[in-house]
């Protein structure tokens, strides 16, 4: 009696061990059906599940189910941090380029498989996913800043060509104001995504050879130029939360602004009355015309049970055809250079400017503390814009803040 009970116990344990082995072995090979959890932010998260690209992936990989969780951009960073802390990360996620350093450095991201070719992507976009010499994500779409300006009002002010240089930009802003616009341009007093193109174009950078160079001569020069627009009343001193520049652009109160590619479709859709009366131009040059590079990267988490399947999805989305299809869905600019030969992109005059601008961009450094360094740069920028500190003081303040926050 007793021995038979023991035998049953042994059998039960054996069965448990066997089933345990069984489940773990299926998760290692990608033959069985797999369910991936993917986080995606903003519009990308809303539109990805039903997009043509995702349907095509499902057709090609019937055994992989993808559950996309849509998260608003505003809370995404904090949510990812919390997920890492609670070890509840998804299999893969869309990441803002500037977060790659942070998450790459704490070692929760899987290294990109060697079959992904770096040369397919814009170099500025690829640089942003490399942390400590290893690629930990794949650029999905790119983003940069260019100048939007009202051509009709420029003509009225007697200027018929796009501003090429800093001088042209200043002259055009003054001309707009002189010919009846409330302001000449809209520059956000506390957003370095609009100031960084000035810094880069003056030959400066945030970091060079592992050292911050925010107090360089180029930095002071770009801040001096930036502050002029505020001093001369060519741009609003400050704006309320939730301010929408397209409204004042349409009314003509701020006939220029520096922003990203999504504004093209926003303006076409919501402000058709000014279609044909505005254009996009490269950021004005000083030493060069170099803009800020950002965008979205796809990263796979090391904790994931289905890394192979996740990378399969990432590589699928980075194919030329899928990049074009995704552009048609949501107007995200392809990170894969070859996709830009498609007529959907090369046929549009405004998009061409973006494609052109993307060849000369710089990305903020991929360091863990970028989010907070970014915030203090914005704070100093705001102080300089308000005239509380001189450009030189702001540059020194930025340098000091960045140096003390960064732990190499």
């Amino acid at each position: 009696m007793r021995s038979s009970a023991r035998a049953i116990n042994c059998l039960a344990v054996l069965a448990l061990v066997l089933t345990a082995c069984g489940t773990s072995s299926t998760s290692n090979t990608s033959s069985g059906p797999v369910t991936l959890t993917m986080w995606a932010m903003g519009d990308e998260g809303d539109k990805l599940p039903t997009s043509d690209a995702m349907q095509a992936f499902k057709k090609a990989n019937p055994n992989i189910t993808v559950n996309v969780t849509a998260i608003p951009w505003g809370v995404a960073h904090d949510k990812l941090v919390t997920a890492v802390a609670g070890r509840q990360t998804p299999d893969l996620s869309l990441m803002g380029t500037t977060w790659m350093g942070e998450f790459g450095k704490i070692g929760v991201l899987d290294q990109v498989p060697s079959s992904v070719s770096k040369s397919d992507f814009y170099s500025g976009a690829w640089d942003a996913v490399v942390v400590n010499g290893k690629a930990v994500g794949v650029p999905w779409y790119v983003d940069t800043r260019t100048l939007f300006y009202r051509t009709d009002l420029a003509q009225k002010a007697g200027i018929n060509s796009a501003p090429q240089t800093w001088n042209d930009l200043m002259k055009l802003a003054q001309a707009y104001k002189a010919s009846g616009s409330q302001y000449g341009i809209y520059l956000q007093s506390n957003d370095d995504q609009e100031w960084l193109p000035f810094l880069y174009s003056a030959g400066g950078d945030v970091m060079q050879n592992g050292k911050f160079t925010l107090d360089s001569q180029a930095s002071v020069k770009s801040l001096t130029e930036w502050v002029k627009y505020f001093q001369q009343g060519l741009t609003p001193k400050s704006e309320a939360q939730g301010f929408d520049v397209t409204q004042t652009f349409t009314s003509g109160a701020t006939p220029m602004f520096i922003s990203g590619p999504w504004q093209i479709s926003t303006l076409l859709k919501s402000d058709p009355q000014i279609t044909g009366k505005w254009a996009v131009a490269r950021v004005p040059k000083d030493q060069s015309s170099t803009s800020w590079a950002g965008g979205g990267d796809l990263a796979v988490f090391k904790n994931s049970q289905h890394r192979d399947a996740a990378w399969k999805l990432v590589q699928f989305l980075a194919q030329r055809e899928q990049q074009i299809s995704w552009f048609k869905t949501i107007n995200d600019l392809p990170a894969v250079k070859a996709a830009w030969q498609d007529p959907a992109l090369s046929g549009d005059q405004n998009l061409k400017v973006y494609g052109d601008q993307l060849t000369t961009t710089k990305a903020p450094p991929a360091i863990a503390e970028w989010t907070e360094i970014d915030k203090s740069i914005n704070d100093w920028l705001e102080k300089a814009s308000a005239g509380q500190v001189t450009p030189a003081q702001a540059a020194a303040g930025m340098q000091q803040a960045a140096t003390s926050l960064h732990k190499p």
Partner: protein, 300 residues
Amino acid sequence: MVARPARRGGDVRAALTGYAFSAPYLILFLVFLALPILASLVLSFTDFSLGDLTAPLGAPFIGLQNYAKLFSDDNFRQAALNTAYFTVVGLIATTVLGLVAALGLNRALGRLRSVFRVGYYLPTVTSIVAIAVIWRFLLDPNFGLINGALKQIGISGPNWLGNPTLAMPCIIAMAVWRNLGNVMVLFLAGLQGIPEDVYEAARIDGATPWRELLRITLPMLRPTLLFVAVITSIGYLQLFEEPFIMTQGGPLNKTLSVSMYMYREGFSYFHLGYASSIGYVLFVVIAAVTALQFRLLRND
């Protein structure tokens, strides 16, 4: 002597029953309040940051450095100043206006009284987030109702929340408007607790209404005043939602509050150690302010 052991057993049983009944609360309190409070005290002596998430116990212990850093941190000093400004002005305005509203409602108005009571109290029971969003729209420089009204009479209104000197007064005005009802109800209850015969005696002695207010109403309202001051300043010192929704702490950090700075350090940058030390400083300040108010307004 014989009964004693039995009674002791009864004591133990009674105590056990008591603990058993309070266990649901006690367990929740210990796990979700006492433990985190203790853990954050320990955290405030470490340099816990994002990198320590994967191995939380490896966070370096740095003693009082977080606290030392606080006092040389420009952002924290600005946040502390802003919070003090908000609390002092807000507390005085809320108390005075709440008292005036209560006095008015207590004496006059007759039938309209309940309409006004509901009117003043309504903002208090409305979600602060909804209120802050609506106020942001009202104060919008281009499309807001307030500047629209000013335009009608030929004044070009300022950029309320975008102006470094006007932003905080706007937030104070909103907070006062929202908390007025709460304070008013407390004062009303206090006023109704003052016996009528005291006023009668005063009137017989020929006291003017003004003297009645100064010599009878205010002294007899002292316990209510204390309660209002303590509750309001504890709430105001933790200012968070209003600037979080309306200004994000800007412009030029002029509406950054201590709680907001703590949130930013803790949950945007994940400096949990530093954020914990901010939390403890805020806690000590609140305790000290409350103690001071008890001293000043105590009934001797």
